[in-house]
Amino acid sequence: MQKDNTLIELNKDIPILEAKHLVYEYRTAAAKLIRAVYDVSFNIWPGEFIGLIGHTGSGKSTLLQLLTALEEPDSGTVYFKGQDIFEKKYDRKKLRGKVGLVFQYPEHQLFAETVFADVCFGPLNMGVDRKQAELTAYDTIKKVGLEDECFYKSPFDLSGGQKRRAAIAGVLAMKPEVLILDEPTAGLDPKGRDDLLDMIASLREDAGMTIILVSHSMEDVARYAERIMVMNKGKLLLDDTVSAVFMHQSELKSAGLAVPEVMEIMTALSSSGMPVRDDIFTTDDAAEEILRVLREYRVI
């Protein structure tokens, strides 16, 4: 819910991530050229909470892999804190510790005998000594909201929601400065979804982490992010503040996306003649605005 910018001191002069004219193409078995990402450029600033949306096949998954150097672009490049990550000598392994990527269904990647050992995997790979890695793992498991009894359980014995948290902890333990999550709430029930998103939002508040949240849900994005990037057919269609992006209703629709239901309600009310603002996209704000107007005009 936190949306103000009272964050810890960070170097705000250079973008933490900068994409420049990224292009990524491949050929299908039938030799058809697919432009998964085409001429995409943007800056991401330290401490931002960004929602990345676009429907399946829009290129957002490829984009995430380019940002973490898991795929190499055909042209264009990515800068992390001003340094070109596709430069020959650049330490890409270290980068992945700094720009953490949590894949969709991350619980499918759990492998170690205990949750604790699994969470230690990342920091150990990053060259942290064992003691430090274990300390970090301990903190991280706590931070993602897993109970103490989970520490030495096999990750395969956890419930669905717990597995998801353990898997996210595995990436968080590398202490990334940017955390990218690909549909972190897929398959969770509504309460599980809200709890997880609250946890992610708190990471930013506590640690000043920059967050890129990929989601299909406009409602979730509207609630947590302050900036939205919309991918469509490999291109960056929109990139602006939440309210500005939601103003482009027709463009969103043509990209197969919809604005949050609340916003549609507000738009409908305003166009039927009720003087409410129509740039509102959370239920809290909508209730407040409707009540304000109803009271002001002495309807109630």
């Binding site: 096949g57 239901e261 609340v262 009720m274 239920t283 109803l294 109630i300």
Partner: protein, 287 residues
């Protein structure tokens, strides 16, 4: 006669620890009784682990009750001779589209059920294309399922089930792994089959938006039916739903908030349109 009749169904299983010792008994379904009439569209809601999937598998005779009995179109699932009849009467769609497509070509997959039932070849072909037609996938008959989107794969799975000419389909969280567009396709297909083909649908989900158009809703919690009624009745009990780890559609939640703040608005608003017209009625009456 009800198409599905659950009589006091309880399902327990034994939990074991890593060494295989008995760790305890979990009661996944706890004394559930419910009847579904032919042609109904039923939604079963519940958080993860509420027992809704376990319950669904009983109707398809994939699981058998520890206590109580399950009747499908009058057949008791405990009757082994009726197993194939029960499974073709009450078809089942699962969550992960990749793990239920057996054929390497769409038409082969849709044919799998009828082939197992020993339907003659010409009749299978007819059923395959009728079913693909019913889900709007007939031009994909010769495609490989790997090249389809999630929503399309699930529609193929639905076609595969209808090809067995079921009277009832049970859909076990068919949209959980699908993007919003695919989700809409699947739901539209389910509703169309219900209306046009008169197939009874039992939809298991935790997405509230999907149950708005159902005839009746059951909410499960800890293996029991915690709430039941029409969507409007269920959604007027917002705080109870939230206690059961569920949320209501945004329109319902907004209506609930307004009501709590003293706006005279009716209970059980399900869609944005309903809410807009309710508010506008107040507005124009006062002006």
């Amino acid at each position: 006669m009800p198409i599905v009749d659950l009589k006091n169904v309880t399902f327990e299983y034994i939990r074991r620890d890593n060494e295989g010792n008995v760790d305890g008994i979990t009661t996944a379904v706890d004394g559930v009784s419910l009847k579904v009439s032919p042609g109904e569209f039923i939604a079963v809601l519940g958080a993860n682990g509420s027992g809704k999937s376990t319950l669904a598998k009983h109707i398809n005779a994939l699981l058998f009750p520890t206590e109580g009995a399950v009747f499908v179109d009058g057949m008791n699932t405990a009757d082994e001779d009726k197993l194939l009849d029960i499974r073709s009467t009450a078809g089942m769609i699962f969550q992960n589209p990749d793990d239920q497509i057996i054929g390497q070509i769409v038409e082969e997959d849709v044919a799998f059920g009828p082939e197992n039932l020993g339907v003659p070849s010409e009749e299978i072909r007819k059923r395959v294309y009728d079913s693909l037609d019913a889900v709007g996938m007939s031009e994909y008959g010769l495609r490989s399922p790997d090249r389809l989107s999630g929503g399309q794969k699930q529609r193929v799975s639905i076609a595969s089930v209808i090809a067995m000419k079921p009277k009832c389909i049970i859909m076990d969280e068919p949209t959980a792994m699908i993007d919003p567009e695919g989700r809409r396709e699947i739901l539209e297909t389910a509703h169309r089959l219900n209306k046009e083909e008169k197939i009874t649908v039992i939809l298991i989900t935790h997405y509230m938006e999907e149950v708005v158009d159902a005839d009746r809703v059951f909410v499960m919690d800890k293996g029991k039916v915690a709430m039941s009624g029409t969507p409007a009745e269920i959604f007027s009990r917002v705080s109870e739903l939230q206690e059961l780890r569920l949320t209501v559609p945004q329109a319902t939640e907004l209506a609930h908030r307004l009501k709590m703040a003293g706006v005279p608005i009716r209970d059980g608003i399900l869609t944005g349109d309903e809410l807009v017209s309710a508010i506008m009625k107040l507005w124009s009456a006062a002006r």
